[in-house]
Every structure is written in C-alpha cells, then in structure tokens.
C-alpha cells in the first residue's frame, strides 16, 4: 500500500468552551488513497464543510491529526503549510473567487507562479488544465465575459493545475445547470482515474453517485459508508457477455 493522499485520524473540531461547546466534528477517521474519489454526504450542519476545511489545512482540529501526502499538517511551520496547500491541494468551492482583472489563463497560472514556477511553464500548464475542461479556447477571456459554467470550469482548472494530488470540492456544481454540473463531476472523476484523490462534499445524491465511496456524516460523526466499488464493469457484466 502506498501512502494515502489524505488521512484523518480521530479528528475532532470543537467551537467554544464549557457548556456552550459545539462539536462540529467528533472522532472522524477517514483515509483517501491515490486514485480514489470519496463523497461526503450529510444534512446541513453535519460538519461536511468543517471536514473539508480541516483536510485542506484551512482550519486546525482540536483533537486528532490531519495527514496529507504523509505530512502531518499540525507539525508544519506556517510557510511549509502554505506551500503544501499551494502545491498539493486544489480547492473548488461554491464561490469561485476568480480574479476579475486576470484572464482565464492568468487565473489558472497564478497559483503556479506564486509557487515560483517560471511564467512560460506556468502558462503551458495552465493551458493544459484549461484544455481538460474544454476552456482552452476562452483562455484569454476575463471572468466577467464568461457564463457561470465557464467560470466554474476555469476555477476547476485552477484547482487541478500542476500536479495536485488532492482535490477538495465543496458543492462545486452549485450554480450550474445539470449538464454542466455533470461535466464538472466527470472531470473530477477523470482526475481521480488519472491518479489524484478527491473529496467531494455534497447533499446531492446524484453527484455522490460518481464517487468510489460515499461516507455519511451526521452531527459531526461518520455514521455509515458505502462498500467499495468493484471493477467498473460490475453492472455491465451481464450485457457484455453475448
């Protein structure tokens, strides 16, 4: 077994003290391997987004450990955590946070340039990522001149540019029509099939259907999960035998 891309070990996150303590997450353990697509489902307030923020190093657990690519986030200095976040982790959130004064390709290049990658190479990588979401032809457009779906695809390209091995997505299809939403999920799926690990937070069962494993969160606790999928041909085996 290779090192998991993401590991949560008995992770807890509390807000407040004493009587008013809220357990946003309580004793959550989760391992996501390379190539694996995990969906997290649960009602609002169940701790889904907290879990994602902890996995991405945007928040710290009050107990337990978060380990990304074998590195325990709690043990990292501020700057190495920032570097890991930039290099290893891609985020896709509901709010896209594209920078309006930069074109599509410049938005996607930005994290790579911040990471010290030479501009020419960053541009090439950005165009590759845009091609994956079929947005390379609109590379020179500004966000305001794109539809919501196009902006979302640029945001996804930015999340996966370079060699990010962990993609964290929080309701990434938020404002998209169902066809475009489907494309987004198909692309996350393809990324995982190419070796990345992805964690998708969603309340939409149809989106969770794309995952290899679905875990259910309720009141900050993992209550259940689906059995791992067997090979992709499982359901079709009857029809493929003549």
């Amino acid at each position: 077994m290779s090192t998991p891309v993401l590991e949560l070990q008995d992770v807890g996150r509390e807000h407040g003290h004493g009587e008013t303590t809220v357990h946003a997450l309580d004793g959550v353990s989760l391992t996501v391997a390379a190539g694996e697509f995990v969906a997290i489902m649960g009602p609002s307030g169940s701790g889904k987004s907290t879990l994602l923020n902890l996995a991405g190093g945007l928040d710290s657990p009050t107990s337990g450990a978060v380990i990304v690519e074998g590195k325990r986030l709690g043990g990292l200095t501020r700057s190495s955590l920032a570097q890991l976040r930039r290099r290893a982790i891609g985020y896709v959130f509901q709010s896209l946070n594209l920078i309006p004064s930069l074109t599509a390709v410049e938005n996607v290049m930005l994290p790579r340039e911040l990471d010290g990658v030479a501009s020419r190479r960053a541009r090439r990588e950005a165009l590759d990522a845009l091609r994956e979401v079929t947005m390379d032809e609109l590379a020179e457009r500004f966000p305001d001149d794109m539809s919501g779906g196009q902006q979302q695809r640029v945001a996804i390209a930015r999340a996966v540019v370079g060699d990010r091995r962990l993609i964290l997505a929080d309701e990434p299809t938020g404002a998209l029509d169902s066809q475009t939403g489907e494309d987004v999920l198909r692309m996350l799926r393809a990324r995982c099939d190419a070796g990345a690990a992805a964690v998708l937070v969603t309340h939409d069962a149809r989106h969770a259907g794309w995952a290899d494993r679905v875990v259910f969160l309720r009141d900050g606790i993992l209550v259940d999960e689906t059995a791992p999928m067997s090979g992709p041909e499982s359901l079709l085996s009857t029809s493929s035998t003549e």
Binding site: D212, V223, D224, A227, M229, T238, S239
Partner: protein, 197 residues
C-alpha cells in the same frame, strides 16, 4: 404488457428472428430487464394470433423450427405501436412499495430504530446510484441505454430525497411530542425520548 409493445416496436425496424428480438430488446435497455426465451416466444405467438405480426417460415426440421421463423410487423401491428407511443403510461393504483410500507410500520413498531432503518436504506440506495452512474458512463454512446440508466438514477435519487424528508418529518414530530409533553406537565422535567441514537 411492455414486452408485447417492446417486441412490436423492434419489428418496426425490420423483420427478425425470435432470438434477435430478445437480443435487441436487452441491448436497447442495457439488460436492465432480461427476457427469457419462453417469454419472447409466448409473446410472439400471441402477437401472431392477434394478427399483429406475420411469420415467414424458411423450412427446417421441426426441432429447430422455432428458431427458423422470421417475424414481421403487419399494418395492424404498426397501428398498435403508434397507439402505444401516443398513450401515456398510467400509474393509476400506486405499486406496492416495500420501503414505504416498511417505514410506515417502523415508526410504530416497538424496538425498531427508524433512523437506523433509514440510514441503512440510504447507504444501499446511494450504492446502487454509484453503480448506475458507472454503468451509464461505460455505455455513454448508446442513447437508449442512457435513457434507461438516467431513469434508474433519477428514481434512486428520488428515493434518497424522500428518505431525507422522512428524517425531517420524524425530527419535527419528535419536537412536537416534546412540546406537548412539556406543556402538559410543566413541573416535571421532560425526559428525552430515545428516538435518536
């Protein structure tokens, strides 16, 4: 019913042998509803009796006679197919739904944790949804199968949404019960009913 019209519709494309009809029916629906040979020939015999298909027999011995018969649609059959497509499918009496019955009984059966029943079902249905999603992607260029797979996916999604809704209803009912108890016996502390684990 659907087999009868399914086979007739396939014969609109071209005359076929019985085994071909079976293959094409299954191919069109992604093998979601497999047919056995018996069903196919029984249905064809009825269609022949009703004058909706005509049979041409290219000879052969008695033993393999059935497999030598070529079925072709008649004008009557064509009219029947047209009527079928023009008529909405009716869901007059709701089909018996084991899950709905199970939950309806679970809420009043002592010792049953309704929330556990709901979660177990949710996990199983999401799992089916994962399989349908995968199968649909694997057969992405077959329009007929895409439509069938979508139908399975939407039905599973609807069931999951209904399960979510059941939980909301249970929570609301539990709150209402507590409130009634609290106002009925204001002096006593209200014991929390152990509906949730």
């Amino acid at each position: 019913m659907s087999i009868r019209y399914g086979l007739l519709s396939l014969l609109e494309r071209r005359p076929m042998y019985g085994y071909q009809l079976r293959q094409e029916f299954e191919a069109s629906t992604g093998s979601t509803w497999p047919l056995n040979v018996g069903q196919v020939y029984t249905t064809l015999a009825r269609l022949e009796r009703d004058g909706l298909v005509a049979v041409s027999d290219d000879g052969g011995t008695d033993a393999d006679r059935e497999s030598q018969r070529v079925y072709a649609i008649t004008d009557g059959g064509r009219a029947e197919v047209r009527t079928w497509f023009a008529t909405p499918v009716r869901h007059t009496s709701p089909p018996r739904d084991e899950l709905a019955i199970k939950l309806a009984l679970a809420v009043h059966t002592p010792g049953v944790d309704v929330h556990a029943v709901i979660q177990a079902q949710r996990t199983a249905t999401v799992r089916s949804l994962q399989e349908y999603t995968r199968a649909r992607e694997a057969a992405a260029d077959d329009l007929s199968w895409l439509l069938v797979a979508d139908s399975l996916i939407f039905a599973a999604e609807a069931e999951i949404r209904w399960l979510d809704h059941c939980e909301t209803r249970l929570a609301r009912a539990a709150r209402a019960t507590r409130a009634t108890q609290a106002s009925a016996a204001p002096a006593k502390s209200v014991s929390r009913d152990g509906a949730r684990s």
